[in-house]
Symmetry: D2
Subunit: 149 residues, 4 copies
Amino acid sequence: MDIKDFKHITDVRVRTYDVDSQGIVHNMNYLKYYETGRVEYRRNFGHNINREGIFDDGLKVVVVRNEIDYLSFAFLDDLLKVYTAVSWIKKSSFCFEQIITKENSTEIISKAKGILVNLDENNLPSPISKKFIEEITTFEIKLKILSNE
Amino acid sequence: MDIKDFKHITDVRVRTYDVDSQGIVHNMNYLKYYETGRVEYRRNFGHNINREGIFDDGLKVVVVRNEIDYLSFAFLDDLLKVYTAVSWIKKSSFCFEQIITKENSTEIISKAKGILVNLDENNLPSPISKKFIEEITTFEIKLKILSNE
Amino acid sequence: MDIKDFKHITDVRVRTYDVDSQGIVHNMNYLKYYETGRVEYRRNFGHNINREGIFDDGLKVVVVRNEIDYLSFAFLDDLLKVYTAVSWIKKSSFCFEQIITKENSTEIISKAKGILVNLDENNLPSPISKKFIEEITTFEIKLKILSNE
Amino acid sequence: MDIKDFKHITDVRVRTYDVDSQGIVHNMNYLKYYETGRVEYRRNFGHNINREGIFDDGLKVVVVRNEIDYLSFAFLDDLLKVYTAVSWIKKSSFCFEQIITKENSTEIISKAKGILVNLDENNLPSPISKKFIEEITTFEIKLKILSNE
Protein backbone atom coordinates (compact mmCIF):
# COMPACT_ATOMS: atom_id res chain seq x y z
CA MET A 1 0.00 0.00 0.00
CA ASP A 2 1.07 3.53 -0.70
CA ILE A 3 1.21 6.14 2.05
CA LYS A 4 -1.70 8.02 0.47
CA ASP A 5 -3.91 4.92 0.87
CA PHE A 6 -3.83 5.10 4.66
CA LYS A 7 -6.70 6.94 6.31
CA HIS A 8 -5.81 6.42 9.99
CA ILE A 9 -2.80 7.98 11.71
CA THR A 10 -1.74 7.84 15.37
CA ASP A 11 1.08 9.80 16.99
CA VAL A 12 3.55 8.11 19.32
CA ARG A 13 6.52 9.66 21.08
CA VAL A 14 9.82 7.75 21.38
CA ARG A 15 10.52 7.54 25.12
CA THR A 16 13.78 7.10 27.04
CA TYR A 17 12.90 3.47 27.78
CA ASP A 18 12.36 2.71 24.07
CA VAL A 19 15.91 3.35 22.83
CA ASP A 20 18.95 1.16 23.39
CA SER A 21 22.63 1.87 23.95
CA GLN A 22 23.06 2.64 20.25
CA GLY A 23 20.64 5.51 20.80
CA ILE A 24 18.04 4.05 18.44
CA VAL A 25 14.66 2.50 19.10
CA HIS A 26 15.09 -1.19 19.98
CA ASN A 27 13.59 -3.39 17.27
CA MET A 28 11.05 -4.95 19.64
CA ASN A 29 9.57 -1.59 20.61
CA TYR A 30 8.21 -0.93 17.14
CA LEU A 31 5.61 -3.55 18.00
CA LYS A 32 4.45 -1.24 20.81
CA TYR A 33 3.93 1.55 18.32
CA TYR A 34 2.15 -0.76 15.86
CA GLU A 35 -0.04 -2.13 18.65
CA THR A 36 -0.99 1.41 19.64
CA GLY A 37 -1.91 2.11 16.03
CA ARG A 38 -4.06 -1.01 15.84
CA VAL A 39 -5.99 -0.22 19.04
CA GLU A 40 -6.54 3.41 18.07
CA TYR A 41 -7.67 2.30 14.60
CA ARG A 42 -10.39 0.16 16.12
CA ARG A 43 -11.31 2.80 18.71
CA ASN A 44 -11.80 5.19 15.79
CA PHE A 45 -14.87 3.18 14.74
CA GLY A 46 -16.47 3.98 18.09
CA HIS A 47 -15.58 0.68 19.74
CA ASN A 48 -14.29 0.33 23.27
CA ILE A 49 -11.79 -2.21 24.57
CA ASN A 50 -12.74 -3.92 27.83
CA ARG A 51 -10.48 -4.82 30.75
CA GLU A 52 -9.72 -8.23 29.28
CA GLY A 53 -8.40 -6.63 26.10
CA ILE A 54 -11.43 -7.45 23.95
CA PHE A 55 -13.21 -4.85 21.83
CA ASP A 56 -17.01 -4.56 21.96
CA ASP A 57 -17.21 -5.21 18.22
CA GLY A 58 -18.02 -8.90 18.49
CA LEU A 59 -14.47 -10.08 17.74
CA LYS A 60 -12.01 -11.80 20.07
CA VAL A 61 -8.72 -11.71 18.25
CA VAL A 62 -5.17 -12.91 18.73
CA VAL A 63 -2.10 -12.03 16.69
CA VAL A 64 -0.82 -15.02 14.70
CA ARG A 65 1.88 -13.29 12.65
CA ASN A 66 3.90 -10.09 12.63
CA GLU A 67 6.30 -8.91 9.93
CA ILE A 68 8.35 -5.79 10.55
CA ASP A 69 10.80 -4.10 8.21
CA TYR A 70 13.20 -1.55 9.68
CA LEU A 71 14.14 0.86 6.91
CA SER A 72 15.72 3.71 8.85
CA PHE A 73 16.43 4.71 12.46
CA ALA A 74 14.15 6.34 15.01
CA PHE A 75 15.78 8.29 17.85
CA LEU A 76 14.88 9.39 21.34
CA ASP A 77 12.02 11.89 21.51
CA ASP A 78 11.10 11.53 17.83
CA LEU A 79 7.39 12.05 17.27
CA LEU A 80 6.36 9.16 15.04
CA LYS A 81 3.28 8.83 12.88
CA VAL A 82 1.80 5.33 12.73
CA TYR A 83 -0.35 4.78 9.63
CA THR A 84 -2.77 1.87 9.98
CA ALA A 85 -5.10 0.12 7.52
CA VAL A 86 -6.82 -3.23 7.14
CA SER A 87 -5.64 -4.61 3.81
CA TRP A 88 -7.56 -7.87 3.61
CA ILE A 89 -10.25 -9.86 5.41
CA LYS A 90 -10.49 -13.63 5.07
CA LYS A 91 -13.08 -15.95 6.60
CA SER A 92 -11.68 -15.91 10.14
CA SER A 93 -8.70 -13.57 9.91
CA PHE A 94 -7.67 -10.13 8.75
CA CYS A 95 -4.49 -8.20 8.11
CA PHE A 96 -3.29 -4.88 9.50
CA GLU A 97 -0.89 -3.12 7.15
CA GLN A 98 1.08 -0.29 8.74
CA ILE A 99 3.88 2.17 8.12
CA ILE A 100 5.73 4.61 10.34
CA THR A 101 7.13 7.99 9.39
CA LYS A 102 8.58 10.80 11.44
CA GLU A 103 6.74 14.05 12.02
CA ASN A 104 6.73 16.35 8.97
CA SER A 105 8.19 13.65 6.72
CA THR A 106 6.90 11.06 4.29
CA GLU A 107 10.02 8.88 4.50
CA ILE A 108 8.89 5.45 5.67
CA ILE A 109 11.20 4.31 8.47
CA SER A 110 9.38 1.04 9.16
CA LYS A 111 6.55 -1.00 7.74
CA ALA A 112 4.65 -3.95 9.16
CA LYS A 113 1.95 -6.51 8.58
CA GLY A 114 0.03 -8.15 11.38
CA ILE A 115 -2.39 -11.03 10.89
CA LEU A 116 -5.09 -11.48 13.52
CA VAL A 117 -7.44 -14.43 13.90
CA ASN A 118 -10.90 -14.27 15.39
CA LEU A 119 -11.50 -16.96 18.04
CA ASP A 120 -14.61 -18.56 19.47
CA GLU A 121 -15.07 -19.55 23.12
CA ASN A 122 -12.94 -22.66 22.61
CA ASN A 123 -10.10 -20.60 21.09
CA LEU A 124 -10.82 -22.01 17.62
CA PRO A 125 -10.95 -19.83 14.50
CA SER A 126 -14.38 -18.28 14.08
CA PRO A 127 -15.85 -16.32 11.14
CA ILE A 128 -15.37 -12.55 11.15
CA SER A 129 -18.71 -10.83 11.83
CA LYS A 130 -20.58 -9.10 8.99
CA LYS A 131 -20.68 -5.91 11.02
CA PHE A 132 -16.87 -5.78 11.17
CA ILE A 133 -16.58 -6.44 7.43
CA GLU A 134 -19.11 -3.71 6.66
CA GLU A 135 -17.36 -1.19 8.87
CA ILE A 136 -13.95 -1.82 7.36
CA THR A 137 -15.33 -1.97 3.82
CA THR A 138 -16.93 1.42 4.23
CA PHE A 139 -13.74 2.91 5.63
CA GLU A 140 -10.89 1.43 3.62
CA ILE A 141 -9.80 2.27 0.09
CA LYS A 142 -7.72 -0.76 -0.86
CA LEU A 143 -9.41 -3.51 1.12
CA LYS A 144 -9.59 -7.04 -0.33
CA ILE A 145 -12.40 -9.32 0.85
CA LEU A 146 -11.24 -12.94 0.59
CA SER A 147 -14.06 -14.67 2.45
CA ASN A 148 -13.46 -18.02 0.83
CA GLU A 149 -9.94 -18.36 2.22
CA MET B 1 1.57 18.18 48.18
CA ASP B 2 -2.11 18.53 47.49
CA ILE B 3 -3.56 17.86 44.04
CA LYS B 4 -4.37 21.57 43.63
CA ASP B 5 -0.67 22.44 44.04
CA PHE B 6 0.30 20.69 40.80
CA LYS B 7 0.48 22.90 37.72
CA HIS B 8 1.64 20.34 35.14
CA ILE B 9 -0.46 17.43 33.89
CA THR B 10 0.32 14.84 31.20
CA ASP B 11 -2.09 12.24 29.81
CA VAL B 12 -1.01 8.63 29.37
CA ARG B 13 -3.09 5.73 28.08
CA VAL B 14 -2.79 2.27 29.68
CA ARG B 15 -1.79 -0.07 26.87
CA THR B 16 -2.25 -3.83 26.43
CA TYR B 17 1.43 -4.40 27.20
CA ASP B 18 1.20 -2.47 30.49
CA VAL B 19 -1.24 -4.75 32.30
CA ASP B 20 -0.54 -8.17 33.74
CA SER B 21 -2.56 -11.35 34.06
CA GLN B 22 -4.52 -9.86 36.96
CA GLY B 23 -5.76 -7.26 34.45
CA ILE B 24 -4.10 -4.39 36.31
CA VAL B 25 -1.11 -2.24 35.43
CA HIS B 26 2.10 -3.99 36.49
CA ASN B 27 3.80 -2.09 39.31
CA MET B 28 6.94 -1.44 37.26
CA ASN B 29 5.01 0.29 34.48
CA TYR B 30 4.00 3.19 36.69
CA LEU B 31 7.61 4.31 36.35
CA LYS B 32 6.98 4.65 32.61
CA TYR B 33 4.09 6.97 33.29
CA TYR B 34 6.07 8.97 35.85
CA GLU B 35 9.03 9.19 33.46
CA THR B 36 6.74 10.51 30.75
CA GLY B 37 5.44 13.12 33.18
CA ARG B 38 8.97 14.19 34.09
CA VAL B 39 10.09 14.58 30.48
CA GLU B 40 6.96 16.49 29.50
CA TYR B 41 7.34 18.71 32.57
CA ARG B 42 10.79 19.75 31.44
CA ARG B 43 9.73 20.10 27.80
CA ASN B 44 7.02 22.46 29.03
CA PHE B 45 9.75 25.02 29.88
CA GLY B 46 10.77 25.07 26.24
CA HIS B 47 13.69 22.68 26.60
CA ASN B 48 14.49 19.88 24.18
CA ILE B 49 15.94 16.48 24.99
CA ASN B 50 18.79 15.36 22.74
CA ARG B 51 19.48 11.89 21.37
CA GLU B 52 21.61 10.96 24.40
CA GLY B 53 18.72 11.72 26.73
CA ILE B 54 20.05 15.03 27.98
CA PHE B 55 17.97 18.21 28.05
CA ASP B 56 19.40 21.46 26.67
CA ASP B 57 18.91 23.15 30.06
CA GLY B 58 22.48 22.72 31.26
CA LEU B 59 21.74 19.72 33.49
CA LYS B 60 22.86 16.12 33.06
CA VAL B 61 20.80 14.16 35.53
CA VAL B 62 20.43 10.60 36.74
CA VAL B 63 17.74 9.15 38.98
CA VAL B 64 19.13 8.15 42.38
CA ARG B 65 15.87 7.25 44.13
CA ASN B 66 12.27 6.42 43.31
CA GLU B 67 9.42 5.92 45.76
CA ILE B 68 6.07 4.74 44.44
CA ASP B 69 2.87 4.16 46.39
CA TYR B 70 0.12 2.16 44.73
CA LEU B 71 -3.18 3.26 46.26
CA SER B 72 -5.70 1.82 43.81
CA PHE B 73 -5.76 -0.13 40.55
CA ALA B 74 -5.40 1.09 36.97
CA PHE B 75 -6.90 -1.04 34.21
CA LEU B 76 -6.39 -1.56 30.50
CA ASP B 77 -7.23 1.48 28.37
CA ASP B 78 -7.63 3.82 31.35
CA LEU B 79 -6.64 7.36 30.45
CA LEU B 80 -4.41 8.46 33.31
CA LYS B 81 -3.45 11.96 34.37
CA VAL B 82 0.12 12.33 35.62
CA TYR B 83 0.57 15.41 37.83
CA THR B 84 4.20 16.52 38.12
CA ALA B 85 5.94 19.13 40.27
CA VAL B 86 9.41 19.84 41.58
CA SER B 87 9.06 19.97 45.37
CA TRP B 88 12.61 20.82 46.43
CA ILE B 89 16.00 21.75 45.01
CA LYS B 90 19.21 21.08 46.92
CA LYS B 91 22.76 21.97 45.91
CA SER B 92 23.18 19.18 43.33
CA SER B 93 19.85 17.39 43.38
CA PHE B 94 16.12 17.99 43.11
CA CYS B 95 12.92 16.08 43.72
CA PHE B 96 10.00 15.34 41.42
CA GLU B 97 6.77 14.85 43.32
CA GLN B 98 3.99 13.22 41.30
CA ILE B 99 0.50 11.79 41.56
CA ILE B 100 -1.69 9.87 39.13
CA THR B 101 -5.46 10.03 38.82
CA LYS B 102 -7.86 8.64 36.28
CA GLU B 103 -9.65 10.83 33.76
CA ASN B 104 -12.51 12.83 35.29
CA SER B 105 -11.53 11.88 38.82
CA THR B 106 -9.51 13.38 41.65
CA GLU B 107 -8.94 10.02 43.40
CA ILE B 108 -5.19 9.54 43.63
CA ILE B 109 -4.37 6.00 42.51
CA SER B 110 -0.60 6.34 42.85
CA LYS B 111 1.94 8.84 44.10
CA ALA B 112 5.69 9.01 43.67
CA LYS B 113 8.85 10.87 44.51
CA GLY B 114 11.92 10.79 42.33
CA ILE B 115 15.25 12.28 43.31
CA LEU B 116 17.61 13.28 40.48
CA VAL B 117 21.24 14.30 40.79
CA ASN B 118 23.05 16.62 38.41
CA LEU B 119 26.39 15.21 37.24
CA ASP B 120 29.54 16.76 35.82
CA GLU B 121 31.68 15.25 33.08
CA ASN B 122 33.24 12.81 35.55
CA ASN B 123 29.81 11.65 36.74
CA LEU B 124 30.28 13.43 40.08
CA PRO B 125 27.52 15.55 41.68
CA SER B 126 27.57 19.07 40.30
CA PRO B 127 25.65 22.19 41.45
CA ILE B 128 22.24 22.79 39.87
CA SER B 129 22.41 25.79 37.52
CA LYS B 130 20.90 29.12 38.57
CA LYS B 131 18.83 29.16 35.39
CA PHE B 132 17.13 25.89 36.34
CA ILE B 133 16.44 27.16 39.87
CA GLU B 134 14.98 30.39 38.53
CA GLU B 135 12.75 28.58 36.05
CA ILE B 136 11.35 26.21 38.63
CA THR B 137 11.02 28.94 41.27
CA THR B 138 8.95 31.03 38.88
CA PHE B 139 6.72 28.09 37.99
CA GLU B 140 6.14 26.17 41.21
CA ILE B 141 3.90 27.09 44.13
CA LYS B 142 5.27 24.91 46.92
CA LEU B 143 8.96 24.70 46.00
CA LYS B 144 11.58 24.56 48.76
CA ILE B 145 15.09 25.80 47.97
CA LEU B 146 17.59 23.95 50.14
CA SER B 147 20.83 25.05 48.51
CA ASN B 148 22.92 24.37 51.58
CA GLU B 149 22.12 20.65 51.66
CA MET C 1 20.14 -5.34 56.30
CA ASP C 2 23.72 -6.26 55.60
CA ILE C 3 24.66 -8.26 52.50
CA LYS C 4 25.61 -11.24 54.68
CA ASP C 5 22.04 -11.39 56.05
CA PHE C 6 20.57 -12.33 52.68
CA LYS C 7 20.12 -16.05 52.05
CA HIS C 8 18.48 -15.94 48.60
CA ILE C 9 20.24 -14.82 45.41
CA THR C 10 18.98 -14.79 41.81
CA ASP C 11 21.04 -14.02 38.71
CA VAL C 12 19.72 -11.68 36.04
CA ARG C 13 21.46 -10.60 32.86
CA VAL C 14 21.20 -7.00 31.62
CA ARG C 15 19.72 -7.22 28.12
CA THR C 16 19.91 -4.85 25.14
CA TYR C 17 16.33 -3.72 25.75
CA ASP C 18 17.09 -2.84 29.41
CA VAL C 19 19.63 -0.07 28.80
CA ASP C 20 18.93 3.43 27.55
CA SER C 21 20.80 5.83 25.28
CA GLN C 22 23.20 6.67 28.12
CA GLY C 23 24.24 3.00 27.98
CA ILE C 24 23.00 2.31 31.52
CA VAL C 25 20.04 0.32 32.77
CA HIS C 26 16.91 2.48 32.71
CA ASN C 27 15.69 3.19 36.25
CA MET C 28 12.35 1.44 35.66
CA ASN C 29 13.99 -1.83 34.65
CA TYR C 30 15.44 -2.44 38.10
CA LEU C 31 11.87 -3.26 39.11
CA LYS C 32 12.02 -6.15 36.61
CA TYR C 33 15.09 -7.51 38.34
CA TYR C 34 13.58 -7.05 41.79
CA GLU C 35 10.35 -8.71 40.64
CA THR C 36 12.33 -11.67 39.33
CA GLY C 37 14.08 -11.92 42.70
CA ARG C 38 10.76 -11.86 44.55
CA VAL C 39 9.20 -14.59 42.42
CA GLU C 40 12.28 -16.81 42.62
CA TYR C 41 12.41 -16.27 46.39
CA ARG C 42 8.91 -17.61 46.77
CA ARG C 43 9.49 -20.43 44.28
CA ASN C 44 12.46 -21.44 46.45
CA PHE C 45 10.01 -22.52 49.17
CA GLY C 46 8.52 -25.02 46.75
CA HIS C 47 5.56 -22.90 45.74
CA ASN C 48 4.29 -22.53 42.21
CA ILE C 49 2.76 -19.46 40.61
CA ASN C 50 -0.40 -20.05 38.61
CA ARG C 51 -1.43 -18.47 35.32
CA GLU C 52 -3.21 -15.63 37.10
CA GLY C 53 0.00 -14.68 38.88
CA ILE C 54 -0.99 -16.13 42.26
CA PHE C 55 1.26 -18.47 44.24
CA ASP C 56 -0.17 -21.68 45.70
CA ASP C 57 0.83 -20.58 49.20
CA GLY C 58 -2.56 -19.24 50.22
CA LEU C 59 -1.67 -15.58 49.63
CA LYS C 60 -3.02 -13.22 46.96
CA VAL C 61 -0.77 -10.21 47.09
CA VAL C 62 -0.44 -6.84 45.43
CA VAL C 63 2.44 -4.39 45.65
CA VAL C 64 1.45 -1.23 47.55
CA ARG C 65 4.87 0.46 47.75
CA ASN C 66 8.27 0.29 46.11
CA GLU C 67 11.39 2.20 47.12
CA ILE C 68 14.47 1.95 44.93
CA ASP C 69 17.86 3.55 45.50
CA TYR C 70 20.27 3.68 42.57
CA LEU C 71 23.79 3.78 43.98
CA SER C 72 25.88 2.98 40.92
CA PHE C 73 25.43 2.12 37.24
CA ALA C 74 24.66 -1.23 35.60
CA PHE C 75 25.68 -1.69 31.99
CA LEU C 76 24.66 -3.87 29.06
CA ASP C 77 25.38 -7.57 29.54
CA ASP C 78 26.29 -7.22 33.23
CA LEU C 79 25.38 -10.32 35.19
CA LEU C 80 23.60 -8.99 38.27
CA LYS C 81 22.96 -10.73 41.56
CA VAL C 82 19.63 -9.94 43.18
CA TYR C 83 19.62 -10.60 46.93
CA THR C 84 16.13 -10.99 48.39
CA ALA C 85 14.83 -11.28 51.94
CA VAL C 86 11.60 -10.70 53.82
CA SER C 87 12.44 -8.19 56.55
CA TRP C 88 9.11 -7.86 58.36
CA ILE C 89 5.62 -9.33 58.43
CA LYS C 90 2.67 -7.35 59.75
CA LYS C 91 -0.93 -8.50 60.12
CA SER C 92 -1.85 -8.28 56.41
CA SER C 93 1.37 -7.15 54.76
CA PHE C 94 5.05 -7.95 54.50
CA CYS C 95 8.20 -6.32 53.19
CA PHE C 96 10.75 -7.56 50.66
CA GLU C 97 14.17 -6.05 51.25
CA GLN C 98 16.58 -6.42 48.33
CA ILE C 99 19.98 -5.41 47.05
CA ILE C 100 21.74 -5.83 43.71
CA THR C 101 25.45 -6.36 43.12
CA LYS C 102 27.41 -7.25 40.05
CA GLU C 103 28.97 -10.66 39.55
CA ASN C 104 32.11 -11.19 41.64
CA SER C 105 31.56 -7.99 43.61
CA THR C 106 30.01 -7.00 46.91
CA GLU C 107 29.48 -3.36 45.91
CA ILE C 108 25.77 -2.65 46.20
CA ILE C 109 24.63 -0.85 43.06
CA SER C 110 20.95 -0.65 44.04
CA LYS C 111 18.74 -1.45 46.99
CA ALA C 112 14.99 -1.67 47.29
CA LYS C 113 12.06 -2.25 49.59
CA GLY C 114 8.73 -3.55 48.39
CA ILE C 115 5.63 -3.77 50.56
CA LEU C 116 2.98 -6.30 49.56
CA VAL C 117 -0.52 -6.63 50.96
CA ASN C 118 -2.50 -9.85 51.11
CA LEU C 119 -6.03 -9.47 49.74
CA ASP C 120 -9.24 -11.41 50.23
CA GLU C 121 -11.79 -12.11 47.52
CA ASN C 122 -13.16 -8.58 47.78
CA ASN C 123 -9.68 -7.09 47.38
CA LEU C 124 -9.61 -6.03 51.03
CA PRO C 125 -6.56 -6.58 53.29
CA SER C 126 -6.59 -10.08 54.76
CA PRO C 127 -4.38 -11.60 57.48
CA ILE C 128 -1.18 -13.31 56.34
CA SER C 129 -1.51 -17.10 56.77
CA LYS C 130 0.32 -18.84 59.64
CA LYS C 131 1.93 -21.18 57.14
CA PHE C 132 3.57 -18.25 55.33
CA ILE C 133 4.79 -16.75 58.62
CA GLU C 134 6.23 -20.09 59.72
CA GLU C 135 8.04 -20.63 56.42
CA ILE C 136 9.62 -17.21 56.41
CA THR C 137 10.45 -17.35 60.13
CA THR C 138 12.29 -20.61 59.64
CA PHE C 139 14.23 -19.25 56.67
CA GLU C 140 15.11 -15.66 57.54
CA ILE C 141 17.77 -14.40 59.94
CA LYS C 142 16.64 -10.83 60.57
CA LEU C 143 12.87 -11.13 60.26
CA LYS C 144 10.62 -8.97 62.45
CA ILE C 145 7.13 -10.23 63.21
CA LEU C 146 4.84 -7.24 63.79
CA SER C 147 1.48 -9.00 63.84
CA ASN C 148 -0.24 -6.27 65.80
CA GLU C 149 0.36 -3.60 63.17
CA MET D 1 14.41 -25.80 9.41
CA ASP D 2 13.46 -28.79 11.52
CA ILE D 3 13.81 -28.72 15.31
CA LYS D 4 16.60 -31.33 15.11
CA ASP D 5 18.67 -28.96 12.93
CA PHE D 6 19.10 -26.46 15.75
CA LYS D 7 22.26 -26.78 17.81
CA HIS D 8 21.83 -23.80 20.17
CA ILE D 9 19.16 -23.56 22.87
CA THR D 10 18.59 -20.86 25.50
CA ASP D 11 16.11 -21.00 28.37
CA VAL D 12 13.88 -18.05 29.16
CA ARG D 13 11.25 -17.78 31.87
CA VAL D 14 7.92 -16.02 31.19
CA ARG D 15 7.69 -13.24 33.78
CA THR D 16 4.69 -11.42 35.27
CA TYR D 17 5.45 -8.35 33.16
CA ASP D 18 5.47 -10.42 29.92
CA VAL D 19 1.85 -11.54 29.96
CA ASP D 20 -1.20 -9.43 29.23
CA SER D 21 -4.73 -9.34 30.61
CA GLN D 22 -5.63 -12.44 28.57
CA GLY D 23 -3.00 -14.26 30.65
CA ILE D 24 -0.80 -14.99 27.62
CA VAL D 25 2.55 -13.58 26.57
CA HIS D 26 2.04 -10.31 24.70
CA ASN D 27 3.05 -10.68 21.05
CA MET D 28 5.80 -8.05 21.31
CA ASN D 29 7.55 -9.87 24.15
CA TYR D 30 8.49 -12.83 21.95
CA LEU D 31 11.04 -10.48 20.41
CA LYS D 32 12.68 -10.25 23.85
CA TYR D 33 13.02 -14.01 23.95
CA TYR D 34 14.34 -14.15 20.38
CA GLU D 35 16.79 -11.35 21.12
CA THR D 36 18.05 -13.24 24.16
CA GLY D 37 18.54 -16.32 21.97
CA ARG D 38 20.48 -14.31 19.38
CA VAL D 39 22.83 -12.76 21.94
CA GLU D 40 23.45 -16.07 23.71
CA TYR D 41 24.05 -17.74 20.33
CA ARG D 42 26.82 -15.30 19.56
CA ARG D 43 28.23 -15.43 23.10
CA ASN D 44 28.44 -19.20 22.64
CA PHE D 45 31.24 -18.65 20.08
CA GLY D 46 33.29 -16.98 22.79
CA HIS D 47 32.46 -13.42 21.79
CA ASN D 48 31.62 -10.65 24.23
CA ILE D 49 29.17 -7.81 23.70
CA ASN D 50 30.45 -4.37 24.70
CA ARG D 51 28.55 -1.59 26.43
CA GLU D 52 27.42 -0.11 23.12
CA GLY D 53 25.78 -3.40 22.16
CA ILE D 54 28.45 -4.47 19.68
CA PHE D 55 30.08 -7.90 19.76
CA ASP D 56 33.87 -8.20 19.55
CA ASP D 57 33.55 -10.35 16.41
CA GLY D 58 34.18 -7.56 13.93
CA LEU D 59 30.52 -7.04 13.04
CA LYS D 60 28.30 -4.05 13.79
CA VAL D 61 24.81 -5.22 13.02
CA VAL D 62 21.30 -3.83 12.99
CA VAL D 63 18.05 -5.72 12.57
CA VAL D 64 16.34 -4.88 9.25
CA ARG D 65 13.50 -7.41 9.35
CA ASN D 66 11.68 -9.61 11.83
CA GLU D 67 9.01 -12.21 11.07
CA ILE D 68 7.23 -13.88 13.95
CA ASP D 69 4.60 -16.60 13.78
CA TYR D 70 2.55 -17.29 16.90
CA LEU D 71 1.38 -20.91 16.73
CA SER D 72 0.23 -21.51 20.30
CA PHE D 73 0.05 -19.69 23.63
CA ALA D 74 2.73 -19.21 26.28
CA PHE D 75 1.58 -18.57 29.84
CA LEU D 76 3.00 -16.95 32.98
CA ASP D 77 5.97 -18.79 34.46
CA ASP D 78 6.39 -21.13 31.47
CA LEU D 79 10.02 -22.09 30.97
CA LEU D 80 10.60 -21.62 27.25
CA LYS D 81 13.34 -23.03 25.08
CA VAL D 82 14.59 -20.71 22.35
CA TYR D 83 16.29 -22.58 19.50
CA THR D 84 18.57 -20.38 17.39
CA ALA D 85 20.47 -20.96 14.14
CA VAL D 86 21.93 -18.91 11.32
CA SER D 87 20.24 -20.18 8.16
CA TRP D 88 21.96 -18.07 5.49
CA ILE D 89 24.74 -15.54 5.02
CA LYS D 90 24.72 -13.08 2.13
CA LYS D 91 27.37 -10.52 1.26
CA SER D 92 26.46 -8.00 3.99
CA SER D 93 23.61 -9.67 5.83
CA PHE D 94 22.62 -12.89 7.54
CA CYS D 95 19.48 -14.55 8.86
CA PHE D 96 18.66 -15.91 12.31
CA GLU D 97 16.08 -18.66 12.18
CA GLN D 98 14.48 -19.49 15.52
CA ILE D 99 11.77 -21.54 17.17
CA ILE D 100 10.35 -21.63 20.68
CA THR D 101 9.02 -24.65 22.54
CA LYS D 102 8.01 -25.17 26.13
CA GLU D 103 10.07 -27.21 28.56
CA ASN D 104 9.80 -30.96 27.99
CA SER D 105 7.94 -30.51 24.71
CA THR D 106 8.77 -30.42 21.03
CA GLU D 107 5.58 -28.53 20.08
CA ILE D 108 6.67 -25.32 18.38
CA ILE D 109 4.68 -22.44 19.86
CA SER D 110 6.40 -19.72 17.85
CA LYS D 111 8.91 -19.37 15.05
CA ALA D 112 10.82 -16.37 13.76
CA LYS D 113 13.26 -15.09 11.20
CA GLY D 114 15.44 -12.07 11.79
CA ILE D 115 17.62 -10.47 9.14
CA LEU D 116 20.63 -8.47 10.31
CA VAL D 117 22.84 -6.22 8.22
CA ASN D 118 26.48 -5.48 8.94
CA LEU D 119 27.25 -1.74 8.85
CA ASP D 120 30.44 0.24 8.34
CA GLU D 121 31.31 3.44 10.16
CA ASN D 122 28.98 5.43 7.93
CA ASN D 123 26.08 3.06 8.65
CA LEU D 124 26.27 1.64 5.13
CA PRO D 125 26.11 -2.12 4.41
CA SER D 126 29.51 -3.71 4.75
CA PRO D 127 30.70 -7.22 3.82
CA ILE D 128 30.42 -9.90 6.52
CA SER D 129 33.90 -10.84 7.79
CA LYS D 130 35.48 -14.15 6.73
CA LYS D 131 36.01 -15.03 10.37
CA PHE D 132 32.27 -14.81 11.05
CA ILE D 133 31.46 -16.92 7.98
CA GLU D 134 34.00 -19.56 9.01
CA GLU D 135 32.70 -19.75 12.56
CA ILE D 136 29.10 -20.16 11.50
CA THR D 137 29.97 -22.57 8.70
CA THR D 138 31.81 -24.81 11.15
CA PHE D 139 28.92 -24.74 13.61
CA GLU D 140 25.74 -24.91 11.53
CA ILE D 141 24.26 -27.93 9.74
CA LYS D 142 21.90 -26.29 7.26
CA LEU D 143 23.68 -23.03 6.51
CA LYS D 144 23.48 -21.52 3.02
CA ILE D 145 26.28 -19.22 1.89
CA LEU D 146 24.91 -16.73 -0.64
CA SER D 147 27.88 -14.37 -0.90
CA ASN D 148 26.87 -13.07 -4.30
CA GLU D 149 23.56 -11.67 -3.12
